[in-house]
């Protein structure tokens, strides 16, 4: 099962002026059990912890992506979308990878993170420790592709910050309650058609 899905900013390596790594969207599918905390404002602290957990993942993904980009000598130019948005996107060559988070750091359970960088956006799935990574990887690619198509992420002037309903709609269909699905190409097309009907572009 997927514990969380997040989209965050990816700054170019060595770009000191690019501000901070920001989580632009996150969805936690079923929270880990809250600690028994008799002190007041337990719920507030709990939420703070969860936000920090997601941010920790985002930051780690960002640095993994930056390190990978640096290692392969790709400059920050690659983080910009192609000038013509007609250019087909090949997500197979996008920076991607996986890493493990030990139990307690930052989640209670051990987790695996699968991530994908698409221009200046990072996408990540936080998975239970022994998920099918091939499936998770292709699901992440699918989600990134769908989000970029249906939210027109690459077009100038659009923001995913104010289109959470559409992200939710995509996740409900393609990752319901964090359940990774074995979707073949035809099936994806069917679901996409359904999505386009319900949420016209």
């Amino acid at each position: 099962m997927v514990h969380a899905f997040l989209i965050h900013t990816l700054r170019a390596p060595n770009d000191k002026d690019a501000g901070f790594c920001r989580v632009l969207y996150s969805c936690v599918f079923g929270a880990e059990k809250s600690p028994d905390d008799p002190r007041p404002n337990g719920a507030e602290r709990d939420r703070l912890l969860r936000k920090e957990q997601i941010l920790a993942v985002a930051r780690q993904v960002e640095s993994m992506c930056q390190l990978q980009q640096q290692a392969s000598g790709r400059s920050s130019v690659d983080l910009q979308p192609p000038s013509s948005s007609d250019e087909p996107m090949s997500l197979h060559d996008a920076p991607h990878g996986a890493f493990r988070l030990a139990a307690g750091d930052p989640f209670q359970e051990p987790r695996t993170v699968v991530w994908l960088g698409m221009f200046s956006l990072g996408f990540a799935l936080v998975l239970d420790a022994h998920e099918n990574l091939l499936l998770a990887e292709s699901t992440l690619r699918l989600l990134a592709r769908l989000l970029s198509d249906h939210l027109r992420l690459l077009a100038p002037g659009t923001s995913l910050l104010l289109r959470a309903d559409r992200i939710e709609a995509i996740l409900t269909r393609f990752l319901p309650h964090g359940q990774l699905l074995f979707l073949n190409d035809q099936f994806v097309q069917g679901l996409e058609k359904e999505l386009s009907t319900a949420w016209p572009l």
């Binding site: 060559d93 939710e168 073949n184």
Partner: protein, 869 residues
């Protein structure tokens, strides 16, 4: 939108004041109360979600607004867009104290799915997980015959069991006296597992109602006599059927090859949802039942369920079984004569209907997996489908592994399938990742698969990493496989350990992602035979990265993007890579198996120098210190005396021979010196045995400057452990030799300090030298006058303005001189017996140690205060 635009928006959202927010909430309240607020309400909720999510601190929403969000969420008439946003907002705020939302408010699957997403985000303080699970079950059992109900609720249940395994009431699995348990239903789902989707939904209809079916089929349900029959309203059953419960063996009888005409009764059962022509991924018409790898122009509801159930199946089998299952299983098995035969035949024959539900589920899953194995061998027309084939193959093998562990009788039919699979996958580099679960299966099923597991492990540890190391996912999965399989590797461990040069290639190329994995894995790779070679390999890891870079540059390109830094053009390195002079060194560096010996790679360091600055090499170099610590953590468990002295010698040697990556030497020296002291602590006799080598290392001034931490460690170790107390072989001559060498060194160092030239070595080095000399002198009293003389010179070192370092040196010299005035105390302080470590010496005021320490400190204090200003 540009990142600055997003940043601005986020900042705005964060800066919204409470007053503004409460006005905004009032507006939202008004909008949600209107029937046709439409786009305006959606826009407002989007903004509210952004405001809430932009900060990690809690924002308070007005109660009426909170209430309306929950009401809208549960409303049957609200537009889905609004409902999704309401759920997202409530989830974003979670955990919320005093949330009024409960499962009872959700009357249909769609709403319950949304409500569940909010409730499951609450952290289970009020047992929300169990409540969601129970309600989802209730709705599933009572759902209307048509519609996407189960499709929406099954993922909820899957999440519930993964959050809290075993939380669903046992009755929902094995209902005493009723046949509507979830497992029962899932077992029935066997029908929609292996069969064409047309029958899928039927099992979900089993709510106790009865619908007449064709008279010629009989469907026994549970063999246990106390379980009453519950039949599916659409399940065919015989009016005059047997006393045994009915309706679950449906699947076994429903051979429904896609595209093949169905039996008359089956057509009756087909929903109005007409499936399109079902084809395989290679485009041919399907001749067997529907699976996730079957494609169609239009998918029916039951085919969608089929996909969902296969996706969830592993979670169910793994977590969904209640705790008491093992006992139940044993009972069930005893009822069947010869469980092997019964389950075996279950996979293919109608006998499955005689089986208890969990076995039916397993039998169905088994059959489905076999079909997936067959389908994954087809040549997919689309790239996405070929990716899916691999993912399915992995899932099928993982499922088979699980099934065989839960029901060993599956093992014998599975092994030949996997052998055939191995034959198919083995040679294909694109299938390397799918080999991992196969290997794991073979390993975890012991002797039955020993031969094959050895072959596949050999393949995985040799050619796979050597050829495919640049793939980040493969690298991660392979290392994870090694790490997780350590306990089951058995003889495979014998294959794994000597393969470390190959595994290190993965690490050298992907050090940021894999370092933490290797920290866990490394200790298992260390054994007496490989330790020294592994240590050298770790120290040469950045050099390996550079060599791999060259290797890739010279090999035909496999990806659209080059995997190396194109801004670097290491022409000389590339020429050197082909140069026969360097060939043996490169071959050694890029070896795939432990060689049993080591070659000195210093010539390569010079050749590869241009690559030392490239990012990947630098990243790898940064990981090495951590890895060295992990390596040495395992040494005490495997090393004998001989190995320890080999390792110590290697440390001495390598501290002067490292690939010149910026900052690499400094970092590694610090680790090596710590570890050298660690080795000496483990085995103090090392210092006596290696006295000659240590003396050779410490006796040169050059070592002080270039390898200061190592030098300090060696000198300290000599002072600490060169004594008869640790090794009876220690002689006065040895002590004197060390003393003389260090004395000359200290003299040289401090003389140079006296001169106008800037200080050439750190005060730490001088104090360590002084202390060691004093320690040695305390063991051989003839030397005391010599060291006293030296110390007295140091006490009078001239002080420069602001020269605190010299102050420290003078203070230490004074302290040591004072101690030496009382040789017996000095000996006790500098060479305490091992009993000084026992806690009694520190706690018991009547023992000598505290007394001695007090006396010494008084002496030292008094004398320090008399220091010349």
């Amino acid at each position: 939108m540009s990142s600055t635009g997003m940043e601005r928006l986020l900042r705005q959202a964060r800066e919204i004041q409470d007053g503004e927010l409460s006005k905004f909430c009032a507006r939202i309240t008004k909008l949600l109360q209107q029937q046709d607020s439409g786009a305006e309400a959606v826009d407002a909720l989007q903004r509210l979600l952004l405001i809430l999510s932009a900060t990690k601190y809690r924002r308070k929403l007005e109660q009426p607004c909170m209430n309306l969000l929950q009401t809208t969420l549960c409303s049957t008439t609200a537009p889905p867009q609004l409902q999704l946003l309401c759920a997202a907002i409530l989830r974003e705020m979670a955990p919320v104290e005093g949330l009024a939302l409960t499962c009872e408010q959700a009357h249909n699957s769609h709403t319950l799915s949304l409500v569940a997403s909010v409730l499951l985000a609450q952290g289970d303080r009020q047992n929300e997980v169990g409540s969601v699970g129970r309600h989802a079950l209730q709705l599933l059992e009572a759902r209307p015959p048509e519609g996407p109900g189960p499709r929406l609720l099954l993922p909820v249940l899957s999440k519930v069991v993964s959050l809290s395994p075993g939380i669903l009431p046992e009755g929902s699995w094995f209902p005493p006296g009723s046949g509507e348990g979830l497992l029962w239903q899932l077992a029935q789902d066997r029908s929609h597992l292996p069969r064409c989707g047309t029958l899928v939904h039927l099992s979900w209809l089993c709510n106790g109602g009865t619908v007449p079916g064709p008279a010629d089929t009989q469907y026994p349900l549970l063999s246990s006599p106390d379980v009453q029959p519950k039949t599916c309203p659409s399940c065919p059953r015989s009016p005059g059927g047997p006393a045994a419960p009915e309706a679950s063996g449906l699947a076994a009888l429903c051979q429904h090859p896609a595209g093949v005409s169905a039996a008359p009764w089956e057509r009756l059962l087909c929903s109005s949802d007409k499936p399109g022509l079902v084809t395989e991924v290679d485009g041919s018409v399907a001749t067997d039942f529907f699976t996730v790898l079957s494609t169609s122009q239009r998918f029916t509801e039951d085919q969608r369920l089929n996909v969902l159930v296969f996706s969830m199946l592993r979670t169910w089998l793994l977590l969904g079984l209640p705790a008491g299952l093992t006992a139940v299983e044993a009972d069930d098995r005893s009822e069947l004569e010869g469980s092997t035969q019964s389950v075996l035949s279950a996979a293919s024959a109608t006998a499955s209907r005689l089986l208890p539900p969990q076995q039916q589920l397993r039998a169905g899953a088994f059959e489905y997996c076999q079909r997936i194995l067959e389908q994954s061998g087809r040549r997919a027309l689309r790239r996405a489908d070929s990716d899916l084939q691999k993912a399915c193959l992995v899932e099928a093998v993982l499922l088979l592994d699980l099934l065989c562990r839960q029901e060993p009788s599956f093992l014998y039919p599975t092994l030949p399938c996997l052998k055939a699979l191995l034959g198919r996958l083995g040679g294909d580099p694109k299938q390397a990742r799918t080999l991992l679960p196969v290997a794991r299966f073979l390993l975890s099923h012991g002797e039955a698969a020993a031969v094959d597991s050895e072959a596949v492990c050999r393949h995985l540890f040799t050619s796979v990493p050597a050829e495919l190391f640049p793939c980040p996912m493969l690298a991660f999965e392979l290392v994870q496989f090694c790490r997780d399989s350590l306990h089951i590797l058995g003889p495979g461990l014998g294959l794994l350990k000597p393969s470390f040069p190959n595994l290190l290639k993965l690490l050298a190329w992907h050090s940021p992602a894999l370092t933490s994995e290797f920290v866990v894995l490394l200790p298992s790779l260390v054994d007496a035979g490989t330790a020294v070679e592994l240590l050298h390999a770790l120290l040469d890891l950045p050099c390996l990265t550079a060599a791999l870079d060259l290797q890739l540059r010279l090999s035909p390109m496999t990806s659209e993007w080059p995997l190396w830094d194109i801004s670097l053009r290491p022409t000389s390195c590339l020429e050197g890579f082909r140069d026969p002079h360097f060939q043996p060194l490169f071959q050694f560096l890029l070896r795939s198996k432990a060689a049993g010996s080591t070659l000195r790679l210093a010539p390569l360091y010079r050749l590869l120098q241009p690559l030392a600055g490239c990012a990947r090499v630098f990243q790898c170099a940064q990981a090495v210190p951590t890895l060295l610590h992990a390596f040495f953590s395992a040494v005490p468990h495997v090393a004998d005396a001989a190995l320890m002295s080999q390792l110590a010698l290697a440390l001495l040697e390598r501290s002067g021979s490292l690939f010149p990556v910026p900052q690499y030497e400094d970092r590694v020296h610090r680790v090596l010196s710590t570890q050298l002291l660690g080795l000496c602590r483990l085995r103090p006799a090392l210092v006596v045995e290696l006295a000659r080598d240590l003396l050779g290392f410490a006796g040169s001034v050059s070592g002080i400057r270039s390898q200061e931490p190592m030098f300090t460690a060696v000198v300290w170790a000599a002072g600490e452990y060169l004594t008869v107390a640790h090794d009876r072989r220690c002689t006065v001559e040895q002590v004197t030799r060390f003393f003389e060498a260090l004395e000359a060194l200290l003299f040289e160092v401090t003389q140079s300090r006296r001169s106008a030239s800037p200080p050439q070595c750190q005060p730490q080095v001088i104090t360590v030298l002084m202390t060691t000399l004093t320690k040695l002198a305390s063991r051989s009293q003839d030397l005391i006058p010599r060291v006293s003389l030296l110390l007295s010179k140091l006490r009078t070192l001239p002080v420069g303005p602001g020269d605190e370092d010299t102050d420290a040196v003078r203070t230490r010299a004074t302290e040591l001189t004072n101690l030496l005035k009382m040789p017996s105390v000095a000996q006790f302080v500098f060479s305490p017996g091992p009993e000084a470590n026992s806690s009694r010496f520190h706690r018991d005021a009547t023992t000598a140690l505290p007394l001695a320490l007090r006396t010494v400190s008084q002496l030292v204090d008094r004398e320090t205060s008399l220091l010349p200003a």
